[in-house]
């Protein structure tokens, strides 16, 4: 039941925000929204502290710490099925934390239609939490698509029309089209899997646990796996399918960017780990080298393109492409170490990218530009913003002591034994990351002051505490990641077992 509340609180909160503005003015929705996300955060932390996530894995069947199941559309064997394990818990906590930050960082930025803004933001977060919890493939697709609509409105209605860019509506539409079209391909794959399963057992079911271990011909398995992979690769984003991301990020409002980079991209990695690999282990194993090289291309291509950006938000957006490339490598390497690295990388990237986007938003609010050529010398014009930005930048480049380092190190170390070439090429991405992060800092904060030298309004205490909390979490992830690793270890072991099972099956005959 508590799982249902995790989804319902943001949805009800969103409705209250919408109606609240009509009766009391714009301050009420902000407090309602912050309150709902805080409640979700507390609930999820309580689940973490009180629950036991190190359940043994008997025979490779996944175990759930909590489960909630009701019939929904029995005609198709569809149920409203939620379940929680270590991995989903970690991501729910991340969603709640970044969701809270997204609400707080738009406190001053959004001054028009505040109620409707928070309705969209909270519904999006509610749907994302649902995606992390669901175990029914129909419900999964349902929520996967449902989270797009509010995001579309966030970008299209409260976004920026960057000069030179093609506008927020273009960006929002492109985002929606890419993700929805790939989502439909996944729906076709889901239905294909369900009918294959029905032919074998005579039972029509969308339940994850029923569909696990469906045996099928290698060709069918490959095509179905590809259907899932395309949807997740678009969302991740993987390189040939990434072009919606920089557009969407540069036009989105700050909260939208935080949400998009910090949370929405993680749904893709989660989808691969939870659905694509366990449902199609053999095809995934065959496909792993391709996927890993796609990840490497993402790391290098994203890193190189990051240099070329003048728009500070596009820069951070392209760096996300590079960071998610590491995630792709780790997921398809499939060793336990690499998979654990993926957990840390997901959390750390969510927080560091979220922090950087918040900082971009703060700079934009004060300077009304995101063009780095017009910045320069900001160190002299702010008191606390530049050092905080430096911390997030070095975290993002993978400096030891921060979570990103742990994540990338574990991924690369875990991949080495399996695919040395991938590891070597991907490691150069770390150098690229160091260069573009330092360029970001150098071009914005150092150098000659551009234009007006008057000092700018520094961070308010609301903004400062928000960023300090994120910094603290990043340090925690970097210095003592054990609690996080312990929580997700069972899930990752199970996925590793699936890989090994597939590899053994290949080797046996």
């Amino acid at each position: 039941m508590i799982l249902l509340w995790l989804i319902l609180i943001p949805i009800i909160g969103g409705l209250l925000c919408w109606q609240g503005e009509r009766h009391a003015g714009p301050w009420l929705p902000r407090w309602f929204a912050a309150g709902s996300m805080l409640l979700v955060l507390i609930l999820s932390l309580w689940l973490w502290i009180s629950g036991d996530y190190s359940l043994a894995v008997p025979g490779g069947t996944p175990q759930w710490a909590l489960e909630f199941k009701r019939d929904w559309i029995p005609r198709f064997g569809i149920s409203f099925h939620l379940a929680l394990d270590g991995l989903s818990l970690m991501l729910v906590v991340l969603t709640a934390l970044l969701g809270l930050m997204a609400v707080i960082c738009s406190w001053r930025e959004i001054d028009q239609r505040v109620g409707f803004f928070h309705l969209n933001l909270l519904w999006n977060l509610g749907a994302v939490i649902g995606v992390f919890l669901t175990l029914d493939l129909f419900l999964f697709f349902f929520l996967w698509e449902a989270m797009l609509v509010p995001m579309y409105f966030l970008i299209a209605l409260w976004g920026h029309n960057a000069p030179g860019g093609r506008g927020r509506i273009y960006a929002a539409t492109k985002f929606f089209l890419f993700t929805q079209a790939s989502g439909l391909i996944m729906l076709v794959a889901i239905l294909g899997l369900v009918y294959v399963h029905q032919q074998q057992t005579g039972v029509l079911s969308f339940n994850y646990m029923d569909l696990l271990g469906t045996s099928m011909s290698p060709l069918t398995e490959f095509w179905l796996m590809l259907g899932f992979f395309v949807a997740f690769a678009v969302k991740m984003p993987t390189v040939p399918l990434h072009s919606w991301l920089p557009e969407a990020h540069s036009q989105a409002p700050t909260a939208g960017s935080v949400d998009l980079a910090g949370i929405l991209l993680k749904t893709a990695a989660y989808g691969l780990l939870r659905f694509a690999i366990p449902l199609f282990p053999n095809a995934s194993l065959d496909f792993a080298p391709v996927a890993m090289w796609l990840g490497v291309i993402g790391v290098i291509y994203g890193g190189v393109l990051t240099f070329a950006q003048n728009d500070i938000k596009r820069l951070v957006a392209y760096s996300s492409v590079a960071h998610m490339g590491f995630v792709m490598i780790g997921i398809y390497a499939g060793t336990e170490m690499a998979l654990q690295g993926v957990t840390i990388q997901l959390l750390a990237h969510g927080i560091s990218a979220g922090g950087l986007f918040i900082l971009c938003g703060e700079i934009y609010e004060r300077m009304h530009t995101r063009d780095m050529r017009q910045m320069g010398g900001l160190w002299a014009r702010f008191k606390t913003l530049p050092p905080i930005a430096l911390v997030f930048a070095v975290a993002s480049l993978g400096l030891p002591g921060f979570g990103n380092f742990v994540g990338e190190f574990l991924i690369l170390a875990g991949t080495w034994a399996l695919a040395p070439a991938v590891t070597i090429v991907a490691s150069t991405g770390l150098v690229l990351a160091a260069v573009y992060c330092l360029i970001l800092v150098q071009r914005t904060f150092h150098g000659p002051i551009q234009g007006d030298a008057a000092s700018l309004r520094d961070l308010s205490s609301r903004e400062r505490y928000m960023l300090l909390i994120l910094m603290a979490v990043l340090l925690w992830l970097g210095l003592y990641p054990q609690p996080f690793l312990d929580t997700s270890t069972t899930t990752m072991q199970a996925i590793h077992e699936i890989y090994r099972g597939a590899a053994v099956a290949v080797a046996a005959p």
Binding site: I73, F141, A156, T173, Q180, A181, V188, L191
Partner: protein, 482 residues
Amino acid sequence: MSFTQAQLLALLPILIVGATALAVMTAIAVRRHHRATATIAVVGLNLALIACLLVAQLEPQQVTPLLRVDGYACFYMALILITTLATATLSHAYLENDRRNPEEYYLLLVIAAMGGLVMVCAEHLATLFIGVELLSIPLYGMIGFPIGERRSLEASLKYLVLSASASAFLLFGLALIYAQTGALGYAELGAATSQLSANSPYLLVGGAMLLVGLGFKLSLVPFHLWTPDVFEGAPAPTMLFLATASKVAVFAALTRYFAEAGDYHFDRLLDVLSGIAILSILVGSLLALAQKNLKRLMAYSSITHFGYCLVALIAGGELAVEAVGVYLLTYVVTALGAFGVISLMSSPHHERDADSIHDYRGLFWDRPYLTSTMIVAMFSLAGVPLTAGFIGKFYVLAAGIDARLWWLVGTVVLGSAIGLYYYLRVIIAMFLTERGIHRTTAPLDWAQRAGGIVILLITVLMFWLGVYPQPLIELIRAAGLH
């Protein structure tokens, strides 16, 4: 031939609608009064709807060789009656201040509805033809109802000419089928065709001509050319009827014909139908991309949607009838929402209906509830989850995948992706404010009107069907062809 009591009872919905037509005609002859005429029509349609629900409880009845009143027929009769009721309610708001005799509109509407009822009960090719004509002929009048308008008259004439030629095709097709098999009833046809080879030329050509005739009414590509012009020229309530009740009746009749007269036997016919479906989906979506006029956009969108529905029909098997039912129902609910808003925004004394996307710019911030209906309807047409349209699309994909029609499934996915683009354009327009250009066409007190209530109910229904479709699915399974 004598009727038993049970047979008369089964015919009750059709009889009541016929009586209503007579009553409306008499009332107009006695005294012209808009509201009274509309009330008579609405009461009659409601009685027919109640009768329909009663008949649904009874055993299926074969009434003469011509008509069969079973659960399937009752479901579609109810659907057509509900659509007609919504049309009547919305046309009352639309025609209210029209000084030129608005009363006859209801007469035409009720007769057209009767044609629809006859079609969905048709068990015989003669009844099918009578139903098609009874449905189409009043529509000429309904399209050209604002006789002062050049565009309406032009649309009416266009529909008259094309519809008449389509009927000629249909008739020729029936004649060819009769020439080969000597039968017109579906059951005898089914028995006869199963013994003939799948390549018997008369039957194949006859079947193809029948498809041409019905394809015109469903505006499937390549028989779609009349649709955008007629939709644009027709008054908004007529467009609503044309896009929903009329097409649903034809499609329901086509589905019954396919399932009972053994047309799944003809692979070549199915190939042709697949081609028509693919073309309808692609041409409809691609042409809709460039539209600035909402009525034309909806016209192309309806072409696409009946293409999707055709995919379910082609899939055949146990799932097909169910999928067609679900798809038609969700489409009707959605279209009622979208066209209903257009009707409420329009009124015949303005030069034209509120049919440009421009008319809806920034409307959300002034009239949130009316616009919410439009937004939900657009998402539903696009097949986004949480709305009824998604359940329909899910069914079509499920039927297609179950039958392994990969080309058609791929086209559905492609069409949906393209469709999303133009639906989003309409949606986002409603949020964009530009001061000074806003025009409100309809009176602002719409919420007090019956039309407003209908619209709100439809919005609730669109959500409810999208979130909890199980009751609907059970209903439609019960109303299958057994």
